[in-house]
Subunit: 362 residues, 2 copies
């Protein structure tokens, strides 16, 4: 199956926004095994949208448009699709009622032009949009499939994950299929060392495994294609177990459990409390920990000791230690951690000292 | 003048990277007054790159390709441009020497395929790339201008700013023109309030003025088009003065002088030192301040007092105050700031207390 993406919006051609939608959709299509050979970006211009659709229709099986479904005169994607497929647009009553109810709930008056958003291909169907007023629209005609998706990412992404991918999977295989991800989070091993240990597992087809480098950690993403979440989970489980066996404790968490959340959850489970002493990071570690829900159960706070005098006075670090080893040294780091633990009455004290990265002490 | 952008790279169609280059170039072209009606994205495939170039050549005056200039077999943009314009590629000796010297400086062996990067249109010219091994290439033929730019953003962006925009400006006006920006940074006034005060100034053509909302601040970008940096600066100065007159001290800095840098520079100029007391932000304010060069001259450090007990013990906040007003109150904030200033021997104490944003205290 070959798909083509047509991004519609003058703001894209003016560089006012970056087309993250196209990348999001492209990645999902690639995982599904759908080929994309062309992506066209055009402005809010009927002739150019129509021309782009005609060339896409000549080349691809599936035409996916992004944007141009709103209520204004500029929004003309459905009109262009209708033109190219010689199709009528008709008012879809359920979509209209959904939009009316949305306005009522928000306590706003629905202007007449919003009815335009409920116009759907007469021989097609709407794609529900729980996150906005403009439904998507689907048309199967002339042996082609046209999908019209909304532009705002918070409406677009759920529609891709929740409708487009399952629909295309079902269409291709005759069975409804979903894509399910599991992200294993790894610290303490570099990306290339990880790849060496799991190289043979990366070759799999379903589930697939890929490594993604992030700041300070590496993610291993397992993706399974299956008719149901349960079957996808059953495909993922043995691969996850094998990865965990090979990487051991370096796999510290999964999915949304990032490092701060994991640390907070572990401390909470054990009923322990933490304090920090930070030099070069200036409070960055404390800020990270407090980003995790439940931080107030386990995080007492800490001392930002950017200057030596603060290390001595507020953390009780021996001045002799500071002059003998310098502030960036293991003995001083130890004394900082011990100092904040004792003074704050914490179970654990964690300290950081180092160069601020501009050749400045800190 | 009409330009068309052709982004080349299979990784774009697979969604592995987001095409920020195209947006960057589009914005610069829009500011210059060059129209872009189509952007095409194709993979590393000779036939498809060639077909995209042919349709662009039929529609536009200027064809700008992004990517595909590297040393590998996948890199075939110049070959495709040569095909479409019936042009030869010839080895450009200065480009070859530049690449050889770059490898020598990096102490790496230059493999034979790197010579490919020095192939330039026989009737055209290279575009110097100080940030990488692949020069850009330029061809004027058949009444069209073809510009071939490298894909890595840190090579691409300087080439757009330093070559493409001045070249197109000169070509359009017969004079070499540059675009120069000045960004005024504003805090303490919301975007809509700012727009009300400067609405009449936004209508200007050269220089232009636009507002950009950012987290916690607003940017006002002034852009001037002129033959020289001096003339651009002379266009910018009166508009900047008028904006500053209307917004007063809310304009706290310009260009790279963000809020932390401005605070650090002001303290340094006055020979004063700062300490912070943070509750809900958990160290985020300290981390921001230490992000500025020279922070170690003016920033002593601080106390992260995430819990009430820490506010009392480490900052001397009266427990009666805490129970009477609660930790999220002006009296407690004042006591925290006073406490950290006195205990750290700072000239200024700054404190933050509030809700952590999840209904949790902090």
């Amino acid at each position: 199956v070959v798909a083509e993406i047509i991004s519609v919006g003058t703001e894209l051609l003016l560089g006012q926004i970056v087309d993250t939608n196209a990348a999001y959709l492209s990645e999902a299509l690639a995982e599904l095994g759908v080929d994309v050979f062309h992506r066209i970006t055009v402005g809010d211009n009927f002739e150019r949208v129509t021309a782009a659709l005609r060339s896409a229709k000549a080349r691809a099986d599936v035409l996916i448009t992004i944007g141009g479904l709103g209520p204004t005169q500029d929004d003309l994607t459905k009109e262009a699709v209708a033109e190219v497929f010689d199709e009528e647009l008709a008012l879809d009553e359920p979509s209209l009622r959904f939009i009316e109810e949305l306005f009522a709930r928000r306590g706003r008056r629905m202007t007449a032009n919003n009815r335009k958003q409920a116009l759907i291909y007469a021989g097609g169907r709407p794609i529900p949009n729980p996150h906005g007023t403009a439904p998507g629209a689907l048309l199967e005609k002339d042996g082609k499939l046209a999908l019209s998706l909304p532009g705002p990412p918070r409406e677009f992404r759920p529609m891709v994950d929740g409708f487009v991918i399952p629909y295309l999977a079902e269409r291709a295989s005759g069975r409804r299929m979903i894509l399910q991800h599991r992200v294993l989070r790894v610290v303490g091993i570099g990306e290339s060392a990880i790849e060496t240990r799991i190289a043979d597992l990366v070759a799999g087809v379903n589930p697939t495994l890929c490594t993604l480098a992030h700041t300070g950690e590496c993610h291993l993403r397992i993706t399974a294609k299956a008719p149901s979440p349960e079957e996808a989970a059953a495909l993922i489980a043995p691969l996850e177990a094998e990865v965990r066996r090979r990487l051991g404790e370096a796999v510290y968490g999964a999915d949304a459990m990032d490092l701060p959340r994991t640390v907070v959850a572990m401390l909470r489970k054990r009923g322990r409390q933490l304090a920090v002493a930070e030099s070069c990071t200036g409070g960055g570690l404390g800020a990270l920990i407090t980003s995790a829900p439940g931080a107030h159960y386990v995080f007492l706070g800490g001392v930002i000791s950017y200057q030596n005098a603060v290390k001595a006075r507020q953390l009780g670090v021996d001045r002799a230690l500071l002059s003998e080893y310098g502030p960036v040294s293991a003995p001083v780091a130890r004394a900082m951690a011990r100092g904040v633990r004792e003074r704050f009455g914490a179970d654990f004290g964690v300290s950081i000292t180092g160069m601020a990265g501009r050749g400045e002490p800190g």
